[in-house]
Symmetry: C2
């Protein structure tokens, strides 16, 4: 084999090889616990206690806090500490405003999507159907997130991917803060399937219209849940 062949094959692994700092690993761990709801919205994260529990120094922990603060999962109040963010009604509205702009744009331009992007949307739909089949409502929610992440990926834009990932993580926080997340996700599985089918057939505008409807009803439902049980 030629040298260039070997080097090219190796270059693909470079991303995986990059070691991550402890701060990033700590941030990953905390992010997971926040998204899973182990750390409830509003909970305060003590530097000393958490640092001791995770076995890292205060300085490193603070770096992790910054990372999650920029993802809006934590709010940092000066001289008061960091807290798990508590989504408000306005946040829900804002989240959906940005999602509408980005995801709808991605769907409408899906004809320029990279190879296999539509297939990944389909995989997320299937994952959601499987979770719904075994009554795993939280798994349905996870699949739903993956579905929308895959929609955003149709734009073939790293920055869109990053922004949407952050928005969806925040949305998980909203689910934890609202009244009855149990029955929220399941009804959307069928709609996701429909959107994916339209994408496969290249009927992009129709897919975008369906998605717009999805946003409208989901937002309305969340707003109602928030009005019922104020934060």
């Amino acid at each position: 084999m030629t040298t260039s062949e070997g080097l090219e094959a190796l270059a693909a692994l470079r991303g995986a090889l990059e070691r991550s700092s402890t701060a990033e690993r700590v941030a990953d761990a905390l992010r997971e616990r926040i998204i899973d709801g182990d750390l409830a919205p509003g909970a305060r994260l003590s530097e000393e206690a958490l640092g001791q529990a995770l076995g890292v120094s205060r300085n490193t922990l603070r770096e992790a806090f910054r990372l999650l603060g920029h993802e809006r999962l934590l709010v940092h109040r000066f001289n008061r500490g960091v807290f798990v963010a508590v989504p408000e009604l306005e946040d829900v509205v804002d989240l959906y405003r940005v999602r509408r702009a980005l995801e709808l744009d991605a769907v409408r331009r899906a004809d320029r999507a990279p190879q296999g992007a539509v297939a990944r949307v389909g995989a997320a739909v299937q994952e959601g159907e499987a979770a719904a089949g075994r009554g795993d409502w939280w798994g349905v929610g996870t699949a739903n997130m993956r579905f929308h992440q895959a929609l955003a990926a149709l734009a073939d834009s790293p920055r869109t991917d990053e922004v949407v990932r952050r928005l969806l993580a925040e949305l998980r926080l909203v689910f934890h803060a609202m009244a009855a997340p149990r029955d929220f996700h399941v009804p959307y599985v069928a709609l996701n399937r429909r959107i994916h089918r339209l994408l496969e057939e290249g009927r992009l505008q129709e897919a975008a219209d369906e998605l717009a409807d999805y946003f409208d009803t989901a937002e309305r439902q969340l707003v109602e849940a928030f009005s019922a049980e104020p934060g």
Copy 2:
């Protein structure tokens, strides 16, 4: 006056009262120097040297680095240090993809814009005209940024504001990395004026179409500049 009246009036000031940390102030200073071009793309920022120059400890400086890293103005290479980001061709394309989605959406929905938002667009246009009048091409660029920030603000969405602010800061980096930024901005002043007039008259779709044209030509121009002088 009633108690609730007074409290409500005071609540509006709360944001301004929040003191900022040293790390944030350091980040502000560095951001300015990067945007103004004093710190060229690719330049390495030594922790020790910079910390000494700014009179802050390494820890604090590293916090500032994280902040700017998340704005993509700095890139952090593990065990190697932080560098001023060097925009590539793909970055230009990606920046414009996201701007198209967000700014066009904001303009199309400008009928729901908050009070005075269109006026702020007009103020940015005027600022650009004034700068062009006195031959201050860099001032024209600054006014241009403010114009687009004002367009994004039509969406009345804090998250849109934040994302667009980051995109525009990155774009400034692109200007520094390209060949001839001097003549780039001025031609767009007239177009900005036209877009603002259409907004005032409520002809939103036409305004969006003009803006889309703007994006197309500006992107093409930048891509050409990059092909001519590869980074």
